[in-house]
Symmetry: C2
Amino acid sequence: MTITNLKNRLVAKGLRVTPQRLAILEAFEKLHNHPTAEKIYDYIRKKFPNVAEGTVYKVLDTLVSNQLVRKVNTEKDIMRYDAILERHHHLYCPDSERIEDYFDEELNHLIEKHFKNKEIPGFKIEEIRLQLIGKFKNLKSNTV
Amino acid sequence: MTITNLKNRLVAKGLRVTPQRLAILEAFEKLHNHPTAEKIYDYIRKKFPNVAEGTVYKVLDTLVSNQLVRKVNTEKDIMRYDAILERHHHLYCPDSERIEDYFDEELNHLIEKHFKNKEIPGFKIEEIRLQLIGKFKNLKSNTV
DNA sequence: GTATGTGCAAACTTTTTGCACTTCG
DNA sequence: CGAAGTGCAAAAAGTTTGCACATAC
């Protein structure tokens, strides 16, 4: 992912392109661990030593509102973020706090088909997210 | 749900039966809105005016560790809890913060069957949770 | 009686806010 | 230039902790 591409994402949403925003988007490319605001803050401070933590939160809010980034649902009170926009699910190990992306088109179709036949009274589904809770078999060190 | 039943849940886990714990379990029966710690605190304070908020958090932790209560995954940094232990999923509207339980055995079988044929390398699934994100059609006032 | 649980208050962590200053377009 | 974004510091919100006291068993 080039800086130009990251810039285009902002421009496409009518957002101003600032070094801080680019740095945060870049952080997602490098970290790809569903990072917390703090992880992102730590990462971009290498480049921008006086970026404010408040700015990180504000930028993340903006990115979420503009659907360039999403909040990840966890069992913790620390928010985590995800910049993968393609439809996907999560593998989640509550013990290690590790989260990995999971893509499964076959499963998506299966579920879509199921809900085509089965309306839920009083509720309009916009999106279906699966959390596969379990344990990783240590193929990779835990990375929160 | 009677107090005796609530008591039994604690006894079955080898936990001491205290009025505070009973009150919190009872609060789940009455609130059934996937309440926050604060909602529970507000609720039980009617009966126990000098219960401490810290106690609510401690009891909730204990109940979660003993699997009498679960944390609900949301996009918010405020933790919400669920005392329904039967396998189920959630309807979740991020705008109103409303969460409702969703039971669907047919869907469970569908998903189970899917993962019987499809192992995920490096990951052992223990549980599958669906979040159906969408909007409620105002059949009921929003209750966070 | 003893291990466990509670109340209270302080501390800690994460996130939000307000406002002057700066920057993007 | 003007609207939008940032830095900073203070405050808010949610949660955890430590310890003396109280209670369950």
